[in-house]
């Protein structure tokens, strides 16, 4: 379908830029459509992330109503296996007891996985459908938007700080910043380094997820461009099958990546919150 874009006069660079531009409302640049202020709303990101979150709630609610202990359905078995898998991870890695952690981990795993899964939908499909109803920019994968990944990682960060203060007390938490890693004679340096270490947690969580998914999306776009730019005349007999094979290969590999990234986000959330629950020193 990228060929259609080509025929409408869009070059390769414009094609990629177009597909990587969010549907922005509010504080947006009228030419580049990028957010320029704090109150820039990425409507596509908001729509897809809320829609997928709603999907999780509706499916869970329906499944919860039809639970069966005698003859569980295939879907119930599937969901139970996911719940047990996440529960097992929490049990193995989380010290102590906190009823919030397992549901939080499960929500993160499924929600991030579903948002990542949007990457596997053909890159032109949703933007073209949106184009028919007058929406000119649409980025369907919420996790290729820094706003989503940082919203999630900062929420986890707030929980980390909350539990640190709740478990260790304000003085206990502040003490963590004073004496590590260089002992009591370098307190100013220790404070800065501990602050950096704390800040690095949400940064690495958010940037890792964003980077992996953004790069994955970009590779899909480049593969789509093979057919769009080179498949003219007889050359199409070579380039189109190549595009199909490459697309399939990257799709299968990417299926692994999206699962791994959802898993990593979940596990690191459990580990970081676990660290907040343990007096290290």
């Amino acid at each position: 379908m990228s060929a259609n874009e080509q025929s409408s006069g869009m070059g390769t660079v414009e094609y990629i830029q177009h597909h990587l531009t969010n549907l922005c409302a509010g504080d947006c640049d009228p030419i580049t459509h990028k957010g320029v202020g704090f109150w820039a709303w990425h409507l596509d990101t908001l729509f897809f992330s809320i829609a997928l979150g709603t999907l999780i709630i509706v499916v869970s609610w329906r499944l919860g109503k039809n639970l069966s202990t005698d003859t569980p359905s295939g879907f119930q078995n599937f969901v139970e296996s996911i719940v047990e898998f996440v529960g097992g991870q929490v049990k193995d890695t989380f010290p102590g007891h906190n009823p919030l952690i397992a549901p939080l981990a499960l929500t993160i795993f499924i929600w991030v996985w579903l948002m990542n899964f949007m990457d596997l939908i053909p890159v032109d499909l949703l933007p073209v459908i949106a184009g028919f109803v007058g929406i000119h920019y649409l980025k369907a994968v919420p996790t290729t938007d820094l706003s989503t990944t940082f919203a999630m990682s900062l929420t986890v960060f707030v929980l980390i700080v909350y539990y640190n203060i709740k478990i260790k007390g304000v003085t206990g938490y502040l003490k963590m910043f004073l004496f590590h890693p260089f002992g009591k004679f370098f307190i100013p340096v220790n404070i800065v380094m501990a602050l950096i270490e704390e800040l690095a947690k949400p940064l690495s969580l958010g940037l890792r997820l964003f980077g992996n998914l953004f790069a994955g999306e970009l590779v899909f776009l480049l593969i789509a461009l093979i057919g769009g730019t080179m498949a003219t005349g007889l050359a199409a007999l070579f380039w189109l099958p190549l595009q199909v094979v490459l697309d399939l290969g990257w799709l299968i590999f990417h299926l692994l990546i999206i699962t791994l990234q959802a898993f990593i986000f979940m596990v690191l959330t459990i580990v970081y919150l676990g660290m907040a629950h343990v007096d290290e020193h």
């Binding site: 010290p95 380094m193 270490e197 676990g274």
Partner: protein, 71 residues
């Protein structure tokens, strides 16, 4: 290190998942923090460079600590 005494076997292994990005993220965090302080004190780029360097050192220390004896 208390959690190891509590017999939590997988803790350090799973934390190692994040090692690859710790180094970069501590450097970025250092630069960001330094940039914030510089904006506040109007001293760009003194603290940005200083905290960036501290972030790199902190990243190395953290990775070394993680790889040698867990969290």
């Amino acid at each position: 290190m208390g959690h190891f005494d509590m017999g939590k076997p997988n803790y350090s292994g799973l934390a190692l998942i994040g090692v690859g990005t710790i180094l970069t993220s501590t450097i970025v965090a250092g630069f960001l923090l330094g940039y914030g302080v510089d904006k506040w004190l109007d001293s760009l780029p003194v603290f940005m460079l200083l905290f960036g360097a501290l972030g790199a050192v902190g990243g190395f220390l953290k990775v070394h600590k993680l790889l040698s004896r867990g969290i």
